[in-house]
Symmetry: D3
Subunit: 240 residues, 6 copies
């Protein structure tokens, strides 16, 4: 098996996170995982949704989109069609849940952090790259709140990062690119914290059902990948 | 811990599947899992979606809805709002994927089976009840194709059933009702085949992240529950 | 002429009303008129629409839907299409007007009763079954307000029930089933009070225009049917 | 009781029908009933809806709208809101049914006549004025088909006209204007043919339920009004 | 070149403005420019959009529509399609901007003037006719505010009128009708004030790009046409 | 007056065009005009819209969007709202018209080029940057058709570029950034060809109406800016 970027089955693609990529947003990064490129922004607003009024806590929500030209063959623009697809909704709900797990919403105060993840080039793993990148954008937006003394202590509980893993032609492989993702039997997305606890496990048999043993192998691989991603996040955040 | 229906942590709720519940549909059941009640219908149409034209295979797709009066406080009617929520889309995509894993689409021929799962009373676990019930409706629709000699051999590969499992106040519990579901730390939906292979695993930390050990306990419990559900499916299908 | 359920031209189908069918709703029934089955719920909310603010009165409104699998050939799900059809809108407006005629909105206080009528099996006469069934659900929701001492006297003025009548192959027939409805020349829906006054008369010539004499025969038949339906409502409401 | 245009209870408002009001449409009129003014156009297209393909017959359908400035206080533009109200849908379905009753669709051939009724000034009775006016526009569109020898014999079976009637402060009144319509107890729209058979009867108790005797008085009045309207249609159609 | 209405290249079509055309609106006109006919209404509401709250100024906004039967071949009803086309949006934004330039919004007070321009017959130049006509409707609505002493001084700064100009088969022509508009190389819409300053210039090369010299010729022609239109506005406004 | 990037009134911002920015699209660039950054892609499809079937020509159309995080304060995602704003529609229609003027659609053959312009960072002049950048993406997509020998000769007639110009505090200024654009009296967008003919002129008085003399000064400035932009396009296209 030959993998893109000369990888072994258990290796992730080269990752690059560029902070402060968009000048207006409170936090923003470009994350590149191989040929997958996502712009993640975090925008603070001093409002909270009606269902949280008066509960002394904040909120975090996420939206996801793909540029029409980002995919192998051009995809239709959701704004022009007038609705988001089920896939988009599913992904943005996942991103929101994953990042809320990283934040103590009580400590955030009565404000909302809006995460936007927009894929500018897609080559597999856009939802996991979105989560890994958005964590850094979130961190920078929260740092801004700290710098402005709007909050006293950081509401961030732990790092959050995500990776995909699958079974491709019988072999478990980490961090699938588009070609692998389209052809694999099982596809799993795993989200973990810096302490390596699980936040989300979403495994789907596309072709053949999978066994508990296969599930365990995939989870081991995913944990390894997430450890690497969190090290990359930590490294990029040490820079001023 | 006192559970509804006097259950232990590892017990499922009483399940009742009524076949041929709606007279027009090709297959239809009412599935009752405790107080959760879902009407599942399977409708055959001799058409396939454009992207499958000429590939000599069929298709199976699913839609999900809740009656406005089915929930604890009335929910808005999606038809009146003019769009389905992200939750609805996520669930109907899950039901479709789960049941497609039960069917050899090549053997189905160039036709579509449309699954509809409509919740008439909701008390937790509506998506897993939908999958477990819809499998029986699917079976009956396919039996009709066989009876009409439109297909020669059944395209059904294996049973499919689903159950939820979670961690509620630190304890792993099987088949959560609404109260448990609203308060649990981790919520996982598991879909398995008759051979007890995995089709879907969707675990979400609502409060605290969960460990691999907890994941394993939950999967063990889920497997036990699914074995029971498949026995119930088998039993109801032995009746003429 | 042979009619379903061995009926004469002037006979209604067997009717069965099951109260407290859905556990969460303030009032709920399953009404079965022959093979037509509708779940009717009444939900109370302590809000009123903006146009009634400060007028010291309540409101009642209704929505109607059909499960996709309820009809002879599966109908498209309105929530998925993103809009309600004209037929649906027409029917839910009719149900709302009919039931508002049964209630003194001043005595209801500043709250809204939301009626939902969802057809789970359709065999003609779904709109009239909805009205007849929803009256009982409405009664039970209002009884709950009385029990909770939120209102002192019942705002219900009179019973309301509805029936269809038509001219089928030259003969006036009461309570048309789907086959008769599809083939009849004239189709009329009549809504009356317990005192046998008219609330709505909606007669439509599908094929041939009809005479005043035919109109009168149909109204006589409808009145007879409604007397029976109101007796059934009264009977079911005597039970605790 | 003082009525607009110095009318007695049983008199209709002054009616004026101007033919060929819009130069592009195949048939078009401006109908004025007192202060209610509606532009009715009939447009022929050589296509039929899919459900009628290959059945050797035509179709007629209608749409209805109100200019935002046509009403007492400006109403929202439906095109801007992105959907038609239930009232609009109900009215355009009524107009379509009424005019289809005037036409033998077999004789029309495989083509569609699209009726558009757009209210430019509203003062009660817009739906009945639409029907009465649209019949003349329909006639002229069909005359064009005859002149072009696209059809040999007219598919028009009979005249169709419509009027409202109601009970206002206890008195039956014909052809209600906006003030009467807003305040009346019962409101009925009646559509009849040239032979004075009924096509539609839609009576609604807005306040008090009405008796069979009141219904009969209203129908007598309506018949009288429709006779007058049909005489006006006949007169305007004698002009070249 | 033969032009409709026996015009030379630099002549506008005959213009007729009928004031108080719709009885309910605060201001209303029918403007006829040759065969193009537009109903323009101005409706006052004592509300302002949220983004202007508390800024001590008013607002003016415009909507535009075409009756389905107004065009050469029937156009689809935007309300039925559920959305306005890009062309409609573009035109109504232009009308709004043009008329806001005529009004000192500070002097208007915290209220909104809603302009509606509805084309009942289209023969080219509907957007420019809308602006020219809507100015007169706006004037009459503001006069009503003055008469009711709701404002003390008129917020109208200057007249506003608009005309189209183009290059048709190499020749610059003023006030294009539909046939000319469909076939011209360049199409320009010009909006000017009574003092002959420019408010909008929108020139588009449909076929060949145009030179600065051609632009200047077109602007000269447009100015001439607008002078005439403003004289017509002034004349119609001298009448009581 | 101090301008961003130390510019004089008649200077454009630094421009950088990066070709082949997105790997899947047939042509793609990142254009940066000061802090305004737009990704432009051109995608070829071997289909044409229905209204062009059988006419032996191709089509070019454009869509435009802004990432939610691209603007000073986060803007709502159009895909989530379910519709594009009027501003978006207006801009994408402009981009489409401008680029169609650059192409001989007959020579393109029966295929469509879809242009997508997505703003990733907005600082004024996004629509003009889109046009200037999209021309280069269009060029590269057409080169691909030539390389694949799908067409024999280039259908590109001439370069197309665009710039904004305005009157800011009484002074004409070229290439307005966001701050200038928000505060200027007049705002004009000019699109020209390589031969310096005009394709579009869109001038709008935001505050004060402008004179012919001011219009001329602005057009002179715009021409100068466009000459520079076309030189930059030419230069970047000389690279392989």
């Amino acid at each position: 098996m030959t993998r893109s970027h000369h990888r072994t089955a258990a290796q992730i693609r080269p990752v690059k996170i560029t902070r402060r990529y968009i000048k207006h947003a409170d936090g923003s990064v470009l994350i590149e995982c191989g040929d997958t490129k996502v712009i993640c922004t975090a925008s603070i607003s001093e409002q909270i949704p009606p269902f949280l009024k008066g509960q002394g806590q904040g909120w975090l929500t996420a939206e996801y989109g793909m540029l029409p030209g980002s995919t192998h063959s051009r995809m239709q623009r959701e704004a022009a069609k007038g609705k988001q697809t089920g896939r988009t909704m599913e992904i943005q709900r996942l991103i929101g849940r994953a990042l809320r797990a990283a934040v103590d919403l009580k400590k955030l105060g009565e404000r909302t952090i809006q995460i936007d993840c927009d894929v500018i080039q897609a080559d597999g793993g856009t939802r996991t790259a979105s989560i890994t990148g958005a964590f850094v954008a979130l961190h920078d937006a929260i740092q801004k709140l700290l710098d402005q003394k709007l909050i006293e202590a950081t509401p961030i509980i732990d790092h959050v990062a995500a990776i995909s893993v699958g079974i491709f032609e019988g072999t478990p492989v980490l961090d699938l690119d588009y070609v692998e993702d389209s052809a694999c039997d099982t596809d799993m997305n795993v989200v973990m914290t810096g302490r390596l606890h699980l936040i989300e496990v979403q495994g789907t048999a596309e072709g053949n059902a999978f066994s508990r043993a296969e599930l365990n192998t995939m989870l081991d691989m995913a944990q390894q990948g997430i450890e690497e991603l969190i090290a990359i996040q930590r490294n990029v955040l040490t820079q001023p």
